[in-house]
Symmetry: C2
Subunit: 122 residues, 2 copies
DNA sequence: TCCTAATGCTACGATTTTCGTAGCGCAAGG
DNA sequence: CCTTGCGCTACGAAAATCGTAGCATTAGGA
């Protein structure tokens, strides 16, 4: 692992884009649905579920997402308090994010049913 | 309600776009994560959870999404066997999609925790 | 020390997706 | 007939995403 988060004066570069335009009108579910309904967000949380990953490992696990998008999503997730930069071991889920795991596990179970139903409607 | 799915001879216009480019490499979870990780997909399923909705009602419930996007998402969801066109009463969740509800409910519960944690770290 | 390899992350143009609005054909109500 | 509301599509503009190249930095070895 190289490049620890030493006091490099970067940051402050919010990356192009960044808008809210979310549909989060009121209830917290909406906000969650909006945050998780962005591309790669769910996938990132899923890949991080077992162990922390470095930036590049995470990128590889997600099938080679563009580093710019990964960086943006990671920033959003960090701002939402779902991932942290566990110095040295890369990015990791926060306890709060870990409490989302039951839902993701339920999703995994459902996905199996779904695949079975989809592969055998004939 | 007007406009029942009578034998109108148009259709056959699959709408521009439509690509797969998904990250679904292997496991069914990936495919689910990919499908649900598109904008509005989760929201659509959520809004449909209680009762069927007409196209326009669904559009309004989703904060006025573009009808083109809504149409595309609805098509993808229909192709995935998650929503159906329950003639007369609009779009409705299939039994398969209804089995996804526990996961969404878990998500809702988590969202409450999340909002509480986010709104009170100060 | 100098070199190599690997890391986190950014820039930038190209491609794809999403948005916003206007509008068609149709069915029901008056 | 005329109005209203519906499902849905077209199309140009805006935004998100992709893909690749590359910088700066660090660790390890020769």
């Amino acid at each position: 692992m190289a490049r620890r988060p030493s006091p490099s004066p970067r940051a402050a570069a919010p990356l192009p884009g960044r808008r809210v335009r979310g549909s989060a009108t009121g209830r917290p579910v909406m906000a969650a649905l909006d945050l998780l309904g962005r591309r790669w967000t769910l996938r990132i949380l899923w890949e991080l579920r077992a162990a922390p990953l470095t930036f590049r490992a995470l990128q590889a696990a997600c099938g080679g997402v563009s580093p710019s998008v990964l960086q943006q999503r990671l920033g959003e997730l960090a701002e939402a308090g779902l991932v942290g930069h566990d110095g040295g071991s890369g990015y990791a889920l926060t306890p709060l994010a870990r409490r989302l795991m039951p839902a993701l596990l339920a999703l995994e179970g459902w996905a199996a049913e779904w695949a079975a139903a989809l592969g055998r409607p004939r």
